[in-house]
């Protein structure tokens, strides 16, 4: 708001922490305006000599006062200085301060003393600082600072100029109607005030603040059982001209120190009418534990208003507290909560709580107001049936509560409704997951049927763990379809399961009772039973199980309509006479749902019937040939149809008929005296129901001399009837079977490299001479003209036999044969009379061309590969091959002979001699490196020691043969280079020492190694038994790891001939090297030493072949 500075004034004072303000009643209605005016007036009269200006910094909520000099005794207004910023906030601050002081009773001292500073703002000039606010958009409340000379009751003319001019005569502040968007010129002209001049302001809606009225809480209530606060307030929407969105901010404070525990916004809409709103809040702490305060403020978001929108002031706080009670209590009491959730439990007490525990676990205490404490339980586990105990201990007592942590009911599973009798429906279900809640907290179930509106409840006052969950619902007449809803509910929630069922299709009959059996005749009985239920409108399907002794049970289904009496009857026929049956029955309904359980069994013996046939009979003549003995077999029970009491035997010829009656059942033969006539004999069995059909046998004989063995006969028996003859039976047979007379003809149908297909013909019946049993097929390798043709039998190892018992088979394929091979095949037939003659054939299989090709290709391929590999290797090793086998110029440095000569001749006297003892050398081989190929010169030396090898251990020092030489001195080829030392007289001496010493061991080590530097050491790298040698051997092993021709090296004596040991010891044989080393050339070649530039031409070994070229 822009304003020109004309005379205006405003008043405000602060007095030693007390405050006073002259306010309009509408701005701070709670302030005792009259009192403040009076007090301010009183104070103002005395204060004005202080001479300091007071400033108010409302934004910071501070009062800062400076001395100022007033130019008027009564020049303060009771109008609030309408700062452009926060008049309401200022008002609230003043109000709060003043109220607090008023409550304490120290407000408004009678008069301030001179020591109590008093400050008064006073600004001289014209009305200025015009400021407009609105709380309902219907009236703008404008005020300005009065000119300094304005007194109480001053009037102003306020004119608003835009298209037209409207003027109002107002007092200190003005309520003007809202202006449309745009700038308006406002003129404030003080009336009746001398020295004041009018002010002009430019007013726009954008400069107006929308500050809603402070909301008022209509009601605050609490539900302590659920720890819920219910807040109710009026939005006073009737004062707003149009729809607006409102944001409410609600704060919940706890304890006496008013800790904010909840600050939440809540949006509604103003609809032009006063509307009461509700807001609920559930506390995490029982409301009984501490006092709770609630305050509310609002913010109106009117989209059509372009000015500042500000929050209203907070409403007066309302609180909820437990009525004072001296008794100690623990809250919540017996709370049921969801397992896994958090819970706060508190103890309201006047005594000091020492500890708190849940179950056996102690918890830290949270101190509330006074001695009240609380504990926080997080993620509580599901409780046992009796709940979880929470106990607070004071000095001489305990207080507790029980928490029941559980789960809401699971959806009822496997809900099934059926009926046993169409009178009552039984619904069963599985409750699912246990809720961990029992007794009055357990789940209650209600079964509701929607069509009829009826329901039944499930009460579990005292249940056992095994009790089924089931409810019974009475079937309603004329209702077949039921729509069931099973509702499960406990204190933590509810679920439901539904089922639509046509009850006539869900009949599960009870067990049939009173099963009875009654005879009708020998093959039929009547079954009757009782099946409780109202089945008159449906069909029953019953199943009868018929068990007969030693027989599989039989099931028969019968369908019948339900009867009101529930007694049912059916006939079971097709039974056997005189048989024990066991019956039982079960029933279902049509359509099928479930079978009932089987009824009890009922046993029954059917009555007798006449035997179904006569006994089997045969006859024979007695040994004297005078009597004919008739035998018969007792009838089996299924043919006797009862107990056989007796038999009747009768015989008749053309002339007479006689009979033997009442032969008891225990007798099964009868002897008849007959002549040579033909008779027909008949036997009849009798039981209590009657006689069986007669069994008849005729007597007729054919002489035996009419038949020959090996001939097939066809016997046909004809019965004589009135109309003629009738064939009764026909059989084929031999009096005696013989072996086949001929062999079957067979041919080779097909031949391949590994198989033969053979086909043969049938043997004619007359040549067969018996019933054909099969064929024997032999085959083996064989030529036509070999002796193996004859006597082909299965016992031979190379003969294979196939026994063909399927006489319809006429072909045979022989597989797995060799190609281009002659086979001998034999076939013969056999009958019950023996083996028939054989027929043979020779067949040559075809050649196997694939094998031949493979046999040629493989060797060729191998040869080519070897050639290629050899060529590659030769190419890669061409340098080495060249140097090894045909160098251009031999390297003289590689000459071992020269090295030997040099070392010996240049003064190393210790290496001049080689001593051999006791192994007698007979060959000396000198290997030189002057030529590419090692030159071997074996020299045969006849040693005197060698002639007496058994005396080696006794050899005297003077008997040692000492050979000193500088090669080349001996160039004689050994006659037997491979002979062993003990068995022959040859030894090969090689200048090992001279070529080894400079290469294998550094010179610096020679002084410390008396053995190593003394003479010939062919096995330098082998283990040596002496202590000194052990030390050297380790060094040598590191440097000369290579060839080791002798395994048992411990038996060797490696002492040099001129070593101290060799000379001083009389008992030890003085020798050098291995006794077998004489024939080894390879190890005498100096080891390849990287330090030696001379090793390249030192000899040849096979391993060199795989090494890289020397130059590489």
């Amino acid at each position: 708001m822009q304003g020109s500075t004309e005379s205006n004034s405003t008043g405000f004072w602060v007095y030693d922490g007390l405050c006073g303000i002259a306010l309009r009643q509408s701005e701070c209605p709670a302030l005792p305006l009259n009192d403040s005016r009076q007090q301010m007036k009183n104070i103002g009269k005395e204060r004005d000599t202080q001479g300091e200006r007071s400033e108010l910094d409302v934004r910071k909520g501070l009062f800062r006062a400076k001395p100022f000099v007033s130019d008027s005794d009564t020049g303060f207004s009771n109008s609030l200085a309408l700062s452009s910023s926060l008049p309401n906030a200022f008002c609230n601050l003043i109000q709060d301060q003043c109220q607090a002081q008023m409550t304490s009773g120290s407000l408004w001292p009678d008069r301030p003393t001179s020591s109590q500073p008093l400050f008064l703002t006073f600004e001289p000039g014209t009305p200025h600082d015009l400021k407009c606010v609105t709380n309902n958009l219907q009236v703008w409340d404008c005020s300005w600072r009065a000119p300094s000379g304005a007194g109480r009751g001053a009037s102003y003319e306020v004119c608003i100029e835009n298209r037209s001019r409207s003027c109002y005569q107002l007092e200190k502040n003005s309520k003007i109607p809202p202006l449309l968007p745009g700038d308006y010129e406002i003129t404030v002209n003080p009336l009746y005030e001398f020295g004041s001049s009018k002010s002009k302001f430019i007013l726009n809606e954008k400069n107006v603040s929308l500050i809603p009225e402070t909301p008022e809480i209509l009601n605050l209530s609490a539900d302590f059982s659920t720890s819920t606060l219910h807040l109710k307030w009026d939005d006073k929407g009737s004062v707003f001209p149009h729809y607006s969105n409102v944001i409410w901010e609600i704060k919940v404070l706890r304890k006496k120190n008013m800790e904010i525990v909840k600050l939440v916004t809540y949006s509604t809409t103003l609809n032009g009418k006063d509307t009461v709103h509700h807001w609920n809040w559930t506390s995490d702490m029982p409301l009984e534990c501490a006092i709770h305060y609630v305050g509310i403020r609002c913010y109106i978001d009117d989209p059509q208003f372009s000015g500042h929108k500000e929050w209203s002031d907070w409403s007066l706080l309302k609180n909820i507290s437990l009525p004072p009670d001296s008794q100690t209590m623990v809250f919540p009491q017996d709370k049921v909560i969801l397992a896994g959730s958090d819970l706060t439990v508190c103890c309201v007490t006047q005594e000091k709580v020492l500890s708190a525990q849940i179950g056996s676990t102690h918890c830290p205490l949270i101190h509330l107001d006074g001695e009240n404490v609380a504990i926080k339980i997080r993620n509580i586990s599901a409780s046992a049936s009796s709940g979880t105990n929470v106990v607070f201990s004071v000095e001489d007592n305990i207080f507790g509560t029980v928490v029941f942590a559980g789960y809401p009911p699971d959806i009822p599973q496997k809900l099934n409704c059926e009926t046993y009798d169409l009178k009552e429906i039984i619904c069963t279900w599985n409750p699912g997951r246990p809720t961990s809640l029992a007794g009055p907290r357990s789940t209650s179930y209600t079964l509701f049927e929607s069509f009829s509106g009826k329901y039944v409840r499930f009460n579990r006052d005292e249940v056992s763990a095994n009790e089924n969950y089931q409810l019974f619902f009475q079937i309603l007449s004329n209702q077949e379809v039921y729509n069931f809803t099973l509702n499960a509910q406990n204190l933590l929630g509810q679920t439901e399961s539904t089922l639509l069922v046509n009850i006539t299709e869900k009949v599960h009959p009870r067990i049939p009772t009173s099963l009875k059996v009654k005879d009708i005749n020998s093959t039929a009985v009547t079954l009757s039973w009782h099946l409780p239920g109202n089945f008159t409108k449906i069909k029953l399907l019953c199943q009868i199980e018929i068990n007969k002794t030693n027989s599989e049970h039989e099931l028969r289904n019968v369908t019948m309509r339900g009867v009101e009496s529930s007694n049912y009857l059916t006939t079971v026929d097709k039974l056997n006479p005189y048989t024990i049956y066991t019956f039982r029955i079960r029933c279902s309904t049509d359509p099928f749902w479930k079978w009932s359980k089987w009824s009890n069994e009922k046993q029954c013996l059917t009555t007798e019937a006449i035997p179904s046939k006569g006994p089997d009979i045969w006859r024979e003549w007695s040994s004297d040939g005078k009597n004919l003995i008739i035998y018969w077999k007792p009838l089996p029970i299924n043919e006797a149809n009862g107990k056989i009491l007796s038999y009747n035997v009768s015989y008749s010829s053309d002339e007479e008929t006689k009979s033997l009656s009442e032969i008891p059942d225990t007798q099964h033969k009868a002897e008849l005296q007959l002549d040579k006539n033909d008779y027909i004999i008949s036997v009849v069995a009798k039981n209590s129901a009657g006689s069986s059909p007669p069994s008849k046998i005729a007597s007729m004989e054919i002489p035996n001399d009419q038949f020959r063995p090996g001939v097939r006969y066809n016997f046909s028996v004809y019965g004589c009837r009135n109309q003629g003859y009738q064939l009764l039976h026909s059989i084929i047979g031999y009096v005696e079977e013989l072996a086949p007379a001929i062999a079957p003809n067979f041919t080779v149908e097909d031949t391949s490299a590994d198989s033969i297909l053979v086909k043969w013909e049938e043997i004619p019946v007359e040549e067969l001479r018996g019933f054909l049993r099969g064929y024997l097929f032999y085959f083996e390798k064989g030529e036509r003209d070999t002796s193996k043709i004859m006597g082909l039998e299965s016992g031979r190892f190379d003969t294979k036999v196939k026994n063909i018992t399927d006489i319809s088979q006429k072909t045979l394929r022989i597989a797995d044969l060799q190609g281009k091979t002659s086979y001998h095949l034999v076939l013969r037939a056999y009958t019950g009379g023996g083996m028939g003659p054989e027929r043979s054939m020779f067949v040559v299989t075809k050649e196997n061309s694939e094998g031949l090709i493979i046999a040629i290709l493989i060797p060729v391929a191998v040869a080519v590969i070897i050639g290629v590999v050899t060529s590659i290797l030769c190419y890669r090793k061409r340098e080495w091959i060249k140097e090894t086998f045909y160098p251009d110029i031999p390297n003289p440095e590689n000459c071992k002979a020269l090295q030997f000569q040099k070392s010996v001749c240049e003064g190393n006297s210790a290496l001049k001699t080689l001593e051999m003892n006791p192994c007698t050398p007979n060959n000396v081989e000198v290997l030189e490196t002057r030529s590419v190929a090692p030159k071997i010169e074996d020299t045969e030396i006849i040693s005197p020691v060698a002639e007496r090898p058994e005396d080696r251990s006794d050899a005297e020092p003077e008997n040692h043969v000492v050979v000193s030489y500088c090669p080349p001195v001996i160039e004689e080829e050994l006659a037997n280079p491979g002979a062993e030392c003990g068995g022959g007289s040859q030894v090969i001496y090689i200048d090992i020492q001279s070529m080894y010493q400079p290469q294998a061991k550094p010179e610096g080590e020679l002084d410390s190694d008396p053995v190593g530097g003394a003479g010939y050491k062919p096995q330098m790298h082998l283990p040596i038994t002496s202590t000194v040698d052990d030390l050297d051997a380790d060094d040598d092993l590191d440097k000369t790891a290579g060839y080791r021709p002798q395994a048992n090296v411990n038996t060797w004596n490696l002492v040099s001939p001129d070593s101290p040991r060799s000379t001083d010891s009389n008992s030890e044989i003085v020798s050098f090297g291995s006794p077998c080393s004489i024939n080894s050339r390879q190890f005498l070649i100096p080891p390849k030493d990287e330090d030696s530039p001379k090793s390249s031409g030192g000899g040849w070994s096979f391993t060199n072949f795989f090494q890289s070229k020397p130059n590489d």
Binding site: A384, S386, G387, I398, G439
Partner: protein
Amino acid sequence: MSRREGSLEDPQADSSASPLPHLEAKIQQTHSLARLLTKYAEQLLQEYVQHQGDPFGLPGFSPPRLPVADLSDPAPGHAGLPVPERLRLDAAALAALPPLLDVVRRLQGELNPLALRLLGRLEDAARQVRALGAAVEAVLAALGAESRGPRPEPAAAAVAAATASAGVFPAKVLGFRVCGLYLEWVSRTEADLGQLAPGGPA
């Protein structure tokens, strides 16, 4: 006092009328019953705390011995009283116990409906303690020391209503207290009858 003691000795004085063997047998029988019930009471208390959850049954858990309607702990000087007087106090306590055990049985039926053994023991205990009380009364009658006439009906219903409204925890504590009192009084009765039983210290 002398009147009571005299009544105790009267049966001995009239032994020629031979009520003595009968009295001894009665005392012996009642003593055996009390001993049996002491054992049962120990089992009941153990079973009870098992079903209440921690800290019931934990070592050191001892809720205050608050007075229970119609029943209190045996007085400290109980042992110093004459035997008939002790038996009268025993009989009075035993008579007060059954309704309290019934209340506990009812509360536990809601709290532990599946604890069938506990419920059975509570039910048995009420019946058995009633029988023991009757037996003690009979012994008193045989001794010539009649009990103090008809007692007012125990305020078991009031106890049940009070505990139910106070919450589950007080109900558990009440049950704990009643089971403990049951054990104490049958044990005390056993000891008091032991004073009279043949071979006893009496």
